[in-house]
Structure formats: structure tokens, C-alpha cells
Symmetry: C2
Subunit: 451 residues, 2 copies
């Protein structure tokens, strides 16, 4: 075990995690067996789900339409299916007269025997969406026609060009055309396209399994004990980290609480990997205090990549790799755990779950945290010599001018320690204060990142 | 049945739906029996879920902490629990010397017999998070102390004030304090606070049930037939509308396809309400064409509020109320159905599901569609005399200057009809072109709303 903390710079940690993410995401995609056929079996990371249940999932391979859309030449207007040439030169004063051979509603299909097709001098009444009967090559809108002789005949008052008001088979989507790209996050629009193509099942990425372990002798799982024994507190991080993993497209499972003791922590990590965890997230047990055993455990089972980052909170952050899987050690206090999760763990989870990578929904919806420009409401003090993420509350301020609309927020720092649970509930976001800057003056511009 | 369309203005429809939403939301909240006690039974709209499964749900009532947090006076530093007065005037040259009575780790609790409390001249070694032993009123940091005589004694080099490095019981959250407000959407932060308080179950709003019915003789459910009979097409709207309802916090169920025929549509609507639907969404069957039967059905069962809106697409939009439940009739073509859903149905669903109403996650995350400023990439033509939502694709353009960063997008309209499925897949968003404006010139500024 290392006897000292080698503090790594934040940017360096992020680069490292970026590389790790890319590598893992590639491995997982490869494991998904795109085009391999034996999906779902063995170590494959893809799973088939019904299209009805595919919303929000990420498709593993390109999806192609098995049919033409529309599947037949289709009327786009209510009216009469005609031979265009029969209507040429027709106008209000000299309408063309055609025999009405019958009517086609949407959903019906003209059999040859039924209509014999449309021939010179004849037509078929047709509804929007109905298939164009044989012989016809255009549709006259109902407004430009008038039926007479008990609807046996119709007068056409306006000429149509060939193909007018017809959507040809396959003109929207061709059979074999790619309709959903590999890596796409499925929104209602994509699932709608799949429905249109009659695709009933989709191969999507399995949600990566993420193990969550809390460490600390003082912790009790809220679900475990109805009341707290003296000296104990309820564990918060299993809940927040599982829920945060869920929000980033993963399937978390909690292994409960390990006492601050090498054997127990080591057993829980091995259990996590045996249960198929792609990522293990621990919290607590990483400070330099009495219970500092996690780094030793990681060194015993694998390799430590980062032990300590030059930010506050997050100095005790640990990142290791065991059996090829990233193992994160986050600070024990809930707000610090959540901030370091969002800085370092969330980008990796999004990369391997496919959320925020290639899909439209992802890149727009989840990749970047929301930010807002604000002014410091009071002086904000930052710890000397540390990059600090200062938790703040936002208050709406009156704009001084019309143009300053984006700056109508004031940011107030939390004075209570980061260990406070109420901070977790009440903070709106954080302001980054760079190393070397110890004071943000009242009224200075800051950017608040929402948590 | 009305023989003509009474076109209503878009703003008027939105106001009407706003009122309807507020009324329904109130009814649902009242039905949830806040504080009533008989939750879950009968017509109540609340349901109890375990905190582990509560992410993303909306709480029905205020939640109060059943305990003090921290539950005991807690050390916030590793060090020594002392009587502050024992350390006054101590410094490097004249340290105070105290007897070490033992050590307390986090999770341990000092019994009176074990330590007898801290008295004048004595102290207890203490870890962060451990409870302060009786008698002690401050914690000296470990850096300011030095043990000697085989750790039986310790020298203190810096004075501490009473209460220093102690977080008093209940100072973070008081027993009985409100920790989560009624109507709040639960994010990992709120679920974390609930965990901290040992809250194992939460009363959340039931997801409103939304019935989805597609109408049209040409439609076949994708899950129903492996191949299409001649003249048929797969139904798209059941999929997109169910998924869109899901995205807006509701629990949709599809009743399949009704033929364009009063009896069938009426039966499906009655079935929806019997199954507990709070909202019924139909699509298709609302145009003035062959199959215009939905308005007649609604008039038969209840009351029509809107029949036709002065926008394109959406002219055939219908809104009625049957047995107090809103019934929407959307256009049959998928893109028009989706646009009118987002304009008129989504706000109502969010209001009754609680997403985007009061909760932080809601108001920030889901309430407003994303917008981007762009310039028209080519001339955009709009239908004369109609407010039109023109579907567009966005392309990134090179900025001409640094200040114009927000305008580096060009919007290109779709030339294919709104009936095209590929439009559904490929459009990025829409541009609103007001009535009276028939042409948006190339280069003109437009706002694109993402779909």
C-alpha cells in the first residue's frame, strides 16, 4: 500500500477516464456481436426486446426496412383515380366525363376481377391512403370533380399530370434501406419508424451492470433496520449512486455495506465482478483517516491508476482497474460522492451505456449538464491552493437592463459543510473556483453547473 | 354531427387545454388522498413504492424526517474529543497534556462504563463520524496533537473553542423537518435525503393511465401480422403516441386499431374509460374525408370542445370530454400526429403526471422543448392563410463572427409530404411560420423547436 497520496490533476484524470471509456465501450460493442447471429447467448452484450419496450434503449446494429413504404402506390388525396391523359385540356367550361367503375376505401385492394383496372374513359373513386387501381396513373381531387347520373359518371374540371397525388410504392422508404443507425438511442420517432416497417423486435445494448458498495462501520442500510443503533447513521450513497447510475443508462445493483476492513471490501468487490459488473463504485473508506483501506484492497486485486485529485471535494478519489473493470472509490460524504460521480463516473457510464454517445437523444439530452450564468450574491471564499467546486443556491435577481437577461441569477454559497445532507437536498449547483483564486468577489460573474 | 369545421385559434385551444389540465390535476391530487390515510385503496391516485424504486416519481405529500440528522453529536475531524477549556492557552511551547481514555471509531458508541465520559484533564481519540463522548465539547484535530507514553497521553498544541469540529445532533436536519416538498419529482438527491432519514417507502402519484386508439381500415398492428395484406399498412401511431405518453410521465396502454366506423370507435373509447384511462388519445379518422366519424362518436358520448385548429398540420384536430375525461383526436399521419401531440396533449399529460409542474427536475428538465436559433438555408414556403409548423433539418454553418455563435445553424425544410415516415425519422425540428407570412427568405432568422 502506498503511504502517501499522489495527487493527480483533474484534467489528467478526465483524459484517463476518457481513454478508459472509449476502450470499454469498444469492447462492449464488439461483445454485442453485431451481425454475429448468436446474440443473447454467452457473453454477448446485446439483447432482443419488443419494439413496444424499446423506448430509450440503444440499438446495437443498423436496422434496415424489410419492406417498401408505402407498400403500394397510394392515393394522397380523396378523389378519382384516372388516366391522366383523359383529363388533359379539361376546364370549367369543357369538363372531361368519365365512367365511375366503383370506389376504393383505404385498406381495400382492387382485384382485377372487381374493377378490371382503369381504362380510357373510366375512373375509380378513391380515398386518401387507398391503393391506386391498375391502369390509373393520377388522382383528381374530389373538389375538382362532380358526379352525376346517380354517381355512375363524373365530370372532371381540372387536368392532372401523370403521377399527381400518388405516392409511389417505396418512395418514402425503400425495402433494404437503413432506417435506424447503429448506436442510436430510440425515441418515439425511431420506434414509430420501426413500427411502420413492421419490425417487432430490436437488438439493443444490454444496460451495463454497475455494482455499488458503501463502506463504513457507522453505516446501516435504510431498508435493513427500522431504527438506528447508537452511533450509527443511515447509508445515503447506495441510494444516490444507484439512482445516478440508473439516470446514466446503467443497471445498478447494490451490494450493501462493507465494514472498513480489507477482507470485507475485497470480498464485496470480487462478488461484484462475479455478478457481471462492468463498473464497481465504492464510496467511503478512502480518506487518510482511520479507515483508509480501499486503496490497499485495489492494489491487492488489481492496479491503482489515480489516488487523489487536486480538487475539493474529491481529494480522496481513487480509480483502479481490476480484471479489466474500472473500480471507483468516491468520498464517503454524500454531496462529495455525488459531485465526483458527475465529474468522473457519469461520463464513463454514458459512454458504455450508449447514452450521450452517438444517439440524437443522447447527445442533445444527457451529455452536458445544464449551466446558467450568474453573479456571486456574496463574496465566495475558496480553499487556497485547491481547485474547488463550491455548492451554491440560485436566487433570481432583477435584471438591470434588457440585454442582461441571461444574468438574472445570483449565486450564494452554502456555508454548512459538504457533509450535510440538507446541502444535498437544497443546493442548485456548483461554481468552479480555480486554484490560485481564493475569493470570488460579490457581483463577479460565475457559471453555475446544475447538479 | 356538425356538418362543418369550426376552426378554433391555436392560442384559444392552448388556453382551453391549460384550464382543463389544471382542473384535472387538482382532481387527481385531491383523489390521491394527501394526509387522508386510506391511500392505495379505492379511487386514490397515490401508490406506495419503495425508496429504491422511487426515482423519477412525484411525491404526493410533504415528507418529514422521522429523526435528527445527525442523530448524535458527531466529530467532523479525526482527533481528540476534549473539554475545550483544557486546551485554552495551549501553544507549541506550552502544550496542554491530557490522558487518553480510549478510542472511538465511526459506528461505535461510548457507553458510560467504557469511558465514564471525558473529564477535566482527559480526552478520547475520535474518528470523523464518531459520536462525541459524554463530557467532551470540542474536537482537537489530529494534526495539532502528539501522543506519548505508549499513547496513554497526548499533547495538545492548539486551543479549540467549545463546539469546534462537532456537528450537533439535528443541526443538519431536525426531526419533524420537511425534507421533500409535495409535488417534487424525485432525483437521486431527494432519494438520498430519504435514505438518510431512513424513509423506506414513499407515497407517489400513480402514473395516469392513457388509452391510445388508432383508427383506420388500412391499418394493421405491427405485432399482429407478420406480413401485410394488399392495401394495408402498419400502424405507426400506437407506437409513437404510447412512447410519447411514456416520456411525459404517463402509463399508456394501446387498445389497438378501430375500423373507421362509429360502433367500433365508440366501443374502444368506452373500453378505455372502463379500464381507468384518465385521457384517451385517438389518431386518424378526423379528416373531412370518407372516414370522418370520430367527431360524431364524441358528440354521442360526451361533448366536443374543439373541432379544427387554424394550424398546419392539425386542422382536423378534435378535443372532446367524455365522462369528465379529455378525448383527443389527432391527425392520422404520423408526423402530424406527433406535432399536435406535442402542442396540445403533452402539456396536459405533464400537468396530470406531475412532470414539469412543481418539481425541480420537471421544470428544468422536461417542461420546455429545446430551441435553437438558426437561419433559413433556403426560401421556406408556407401555406397562405395558415399558421404552419414547417418540419426542418438542421445543418451546421460556419459562423461569420465570434459573436454570432448561437446562429451557426441553417434550417432546411422537408419537401416530402408530412405523410412520409422518413420525415418522422429525419426531421430535427420545426419552424413556426405565422399566418400572413407566406415566405421565409433564405438567410432570415428562424427559431427551430426540436421534436
Amino acid at each position: 500500500m502506498k503511504q502517501f497520496l499522489e495527487i493527480t490533476e483533474e484534467g489528467e484524470v478526465k483524459r484517463l477516464i476518457g481513454d478508459l471509456s472509449a476502450e470499454l465501450a469498444k469492447k462492449i460493442t464488439a461483445g454485442a456481436g453485431v451481425g454475429g447471429g448468436n446474440v443473447g447467448a454467452g457473453g454477448g452484450k446485446g439483447e432482443k426486446v419488443r419494439t413496444e419496450e424499446a423506448l430509450g434503449r440503444t440499438v446495437v446494429g443498423d436496422i434496415f426496412s424489410p419492406l417498401d413504404i408505402p407498400p403500394f402506390d397510394r392515393a394522397t388525396m380523396d378523389g378519382y383515380a384516372v388516366l391522366a391523359a383523359d383529363t388533359f385540356y379539361a376546364d370549367e367550361s369543357k369538363p372531361a366525363t368519365l365512367v365511375v367503375r366503383g370506389y376504393l376505401k383505404a385498406g381495400e385492394f382492387p382485384s382485377a376481377s372487381q374493377y378490371g383496372g382503369v381504362e380510357e374513359g373510366s375512373c375509380v373513386g378513391i380515398a386518401t391512403g387507398a391503393p391506386i387501381p391498375r391502369g390509373a396513373n393520377a388522382v383528381v381531387k374530389v373538389e375538382n370533380a362532380f358526379e352525376f347520373e346517380k354517381s355512375k359518371k363524373v365530370r372532371i374540371y381540372k387536368p392532372v399530370a401523370p403521377a399527381e397525388n400518388i405516392m409511389p410504392a417505396g418512395s418514402d422508404i425503400k425495402r433494404g434501406e437503413k432506417v435506424v443507425k447503429k448506436g442510436r438511442l430510440l425515441t418515439p420517432r425511431e420506434t414509430g419508424v420501426l413500427a411502420a416497417c413492421g419490425v417487432r423486435e430490436v437488438l439493443v445494448r444490454k444496460k451495463p451492470r454497475v455494482a455499488v458498495i458503501s463502506t463504513g462501520n457507522e453505516l446501516v442500510a435504510p431498508g435493513e433496520a427500522l431504527s438506528l443503533a447508537p452511533g450509527k447513521i443511515y447509508d445515503v450513497n447506495a441510494q444516490t449512486l444507484c439512482d445516478s447510475a440508473r439516470e446514466n443508462g446503467c443497471a445498478p445493483f447494490s451490494l450493501g455495506i462493507a465494514r472498513d476492513e480489507e477482507g470485507e471490501i475485497s470480498a464485496k468487490i470480487r462478488e461484484s465482478l462475479a455478478k457481471g459488473a462492468e463498473v464497481v463504485i465504492l464510496s467511503g473508506g478512502t480518506s487518510a483517516g482511520v479507515g483508509d483501506v480501499l486503496p490497499a484492497v485495489i492494489e491487492g486485486l488489481g492496479e491503482i491508476l489515480v489516488h487523489g485529485v487536486d480538487i475539493k471535494p474529491g481529494k480522496p478519489f481513487v480509480l483502479g482497474v481490476i480484471q479489466g473493470k474500472p473500480v471507483f472509490g468516491l468520498p464517503g460524504n454524500p454531496t462529495s460522492a455525488l459531485i465526483t460521480f458527475h465529474l468522473f463516473v457519469a461520463p464513463l457510464l454514458r459512454a458504455i451505456s450508449g447514452e450521450g454517445s452517438e444517439g440524437r437523444g443522447g447527445s442533445e439530452g444527457r451529455e452536458r449538464r445544464k449551466r446558467v450564468k450568474a453573479k456571486a450574491g456574496v463574496r465566495i471564499f475558496s480553499e487556497p491552493g485547491r481547485n474547488e467546486y463550491v455548492l451554491v443556491n440560485l436566487a433570481r435577481a432583477e435584471s438591470e437592463s434588457e440585454e442582461e437577461q441571461e444574468e438574472h441569477f445570483l449565486a450564494y454559497p452554502f456555508l454548512s459543510g459538504s457533509g450535510a445532507i440538507s446541502t444535498l437536498a437544497k443546493a442548485d449547483g456548483f461554481v468552479f473556483v480555480e486554484k490560485g483564486k481564493e475569493i470570488v468577489e460579490e457581483g463577479e460573474r460565475v457559471e453555475v453547473v446544475f447538479i
